[in-house]
């Protein structure tokens, strides 16, 4: 396990990537460093990779089983000397005791190097502000949750994503109906015409992200989309300093089904839109052939916030590039009942008043 700490050449303080200025910056003496300067350090480190050390100190506890130990790596902080154990898929983090930012390059060994990384544009402060904004205006949110919103943890995480590009060639067969209603003499007539609707054509999809991390909730990752890959830059480990980074543990082959499902649905929707003149449209055949498929590996920036309330864990995520904030919130059952009750009473009163009004002006 190779551990990478960027020390400031001026004051020896731990330097980290500053998302505001887009450079490495020493938080102690405010000196800024270009990424290119640090690239040479990356190269040097890659030639000096050390092997995992999975021998555990068993004096204070029990032996790790082989299966357990294979998923863990241990690290001794060079700044304060603390011994820390990480999940083996974690590639960047900080020392929980002295907050010294570290990058474990061994976390990438045996895996793929990301094709690109989208650096953080928004910092932790922005994530906190977004979280507070996320809590406002939610009438069914428990007040205690809002008043005592103790975030257990806010982590800047580079999440591994597979980015899919593909062309879709489609042949669609729909059954369509056109309904015409009219009156003829004493009869209401409904005339339904049935059609076979054929559509074929092609379309292209680019940059569909599918997260490659088992730990991350798929729905949460889908919800923080979209990312603008135009901001993607060549991967350099220096970008990871000060943030957590996960190595992928879901292969692109296992992720492709999620991308395919989305492509299939969107392709069908696009062709359906060309037959909007039909009253109803049901799909009879839907053949989609993908070509020029391309997959890239990217690290995308997310702020992950955790909190626990009433024994339940709530996870929120903010897109570190766009600031889009998502995360389900708890519902106050008491407030739910109160709003249901008052809504029902007000609704009943309004309907009754409307009825009386219409009755008295003679429309009922």
């Amino acid at each position: 396990m190779a551990l990478l700490e960027y020390k400031c050449p001026c004051c020896s303080g731990a330097i980290e990537y500053n998302s505001t200025v887009g450079k490495m910056k020493c938080p102690y003496c405010d000196t800024e460093f270009e990424m290119e300067t640090l690239k040479e350090m990356d190269d040097a480190i890659s030639e000096d990779t050390i092997n995992d050390d999975l021998s555990w100190d068993t004096k204070a506890g029990l032996e790790w089983g082989d299966a357990e130990a294979s998923g863990m790596v241990s690290y001794e902080c060079k700044s304060c000397g603390a011994k820390i154990t990480f999940d083996s898929t974690t590639t960047a983090s900080s020392c929980p005791f002295c907050d010294n930012p570290i990058v474990m390059t061994a976390g990438f060994v045996g895996g793929l190097k990301p094709d690109f990384v989208i650096p953080f544009k928004l910092d932790k402060k922005a994530a906190k502000e977004a979280f507070n904004k996320h809590l406002t205006g939610k009438k069914l949110l428990p007040r205690v949750f809002k008043d005592q919103n103790h975030i257990d943890e806010i982590k800047g995480v580079y999440v591994p994503f597979w980015i899919f590009d593909s062309n879709a060639d489609a042949n669609m067969v729909f059954k369509g109906t056109k309904v015409r209603r009219y009156t003829s003499g004493q009869y209401d007539v409904t005339e339904t015409s049935y059609y076979r609707v054929l559509r074929s054509g092609s379309m292209a999809f680019a940059n569909i992200p599918v997260d490659g991390s088992e730990k991350m909730d798929d729905a949460l990752m889908d919800s923080v989309e979209p990312f603008d890959v135009k901001d993607g830059v060549e991967f350099q480990s220096a970008y990871l300093a000060g943030y957590c980074a996960d190595k992928y543990d879901v292969s692109p082959e296992d992720s492709i089904e999620r991308a395919n499902r989305r492509i299939r649905n969107s392709t069908e929707a696009a062709f359906r839109a060309t037959a909007s003149e039909y009253t109803t449209l049901s799909t009879e055949a839907n053949n989609i052939k993908l070509s020029n498929g391309k997959t890239r590996y990217a690290l995308l920036p997310l702020w992950i916030l955790n909190t626990t309330w009433n024994g339940e864990k709530y996870v929120f995520a903010m897109n570190g590039q766009t600031g889009k904030f998502v995360g389900n919130l708890p519902c106050d059952k008491g407030l739910y009942k109160k709003f249901l009750f008052t809504g029902t009473l007000v609704g009943t009163a309004v309907v009754a008043a409307g009825w009386f009004l219409l009755h008295f002006i003679g429309l009922l």
């Binding site: 939610k138 069914l140 949110l141 062309n167 369509g176 004493q186 009869y187 209401d188 007539v189 409904t190 005339e191 339904t192 015409s193 049935y194 059609y195 076979r196 609707v197 054929l198 074929s200 054509g201 092609s202 379309m203 292209a204 999809f205 680019a206 940059n207 909730d217 798929d218 729905a219 889908d222 919800s223 989309e225 979209p226 499902r261 989305r262 649905n265 969107s266 696009a270 060309t274 037959a275 998502v326 995360g327 389900n328 919130l329 739910y336 009942k337 709003f339 249901l340 009750f341 809504g343 029902t344 009473l345 007000v346 609704g347 009943t348 009163a349 309004v350 309907v351 009754a352 009825w355």
Partner: protein, 277 residues
Amino acid sequence: MKKIFGSLMLASLLAVAASIFLFGGEAKADDSKIGKGATDYQKLFDFDDFISDEKEAEFESRLQALSDKYGADVVAVFDIDRPARPEYNIPDELEATELYAIDFYNEPFSDGGRYSDDGIIFMFTMADRSVSIQSVDVIGDVVTFDDRESILDDMMTDFHNNNFDAVLDIYINEVEELFEGYGSRVVRQWIFRCVIFLVIGLIIGLIRVSVLKGQLKSVAIKTEASDYIVPGSFNLRNSRDFFLYKTVSRVRRQSSSGGGSSHSSGGRSFSGSSRHV
């Protein structure tokens, strides 16, 4: 949940009670009057002896008693020769009978008086065997379209047998039943209305909390990739539509022919049902 449903039940009961108190005046037990009051004018007109002589006085008496009890004139007319009157000699026989019934009810008597503003008239014309029942003003709520149709249905056999005593007996009995049951019908209507108001209110309440609850949810799996379609890449190569077949369904419309109609005449509103018998 028990509490909330208990509260809703309490609210509905209060709404029903308030409605009955405010609007159920017609249903008060000590006041059986439905209309504004009956007149003493003759109620049965049998111009060509359709009704047996021995029964005629009894029917007149029953109609008068019924009218007095409920404050609404209950009138029955048996005629033979309406088409001979030029003003009613129009192609639509049922409409002619309706107009005749309305005019008959509105026509002033020799002393200048008229039937009550609330009432009901039964009109039979032998010439074209047409019959019409017209409810006047408030009685339109008491003897509704369905009620009039039901009365006419019940009379059909006796009409075919030319048993006009039985026809008139049915008319008096069924109108009396409707007058008598009106109070409880009003209460039932109000209870039904209140339940409907409450159900609609509950749906509104549920929609409201669903919207509010939806604000708490911002996480969902994405099923589409429409954000990632390359702009301008959509190429529709082939677009063909083939007509297969056509189905046509016809449903007869609910019409007023032989059934419901409404007129305003002499400052009164008439709602009627007519048919050939």
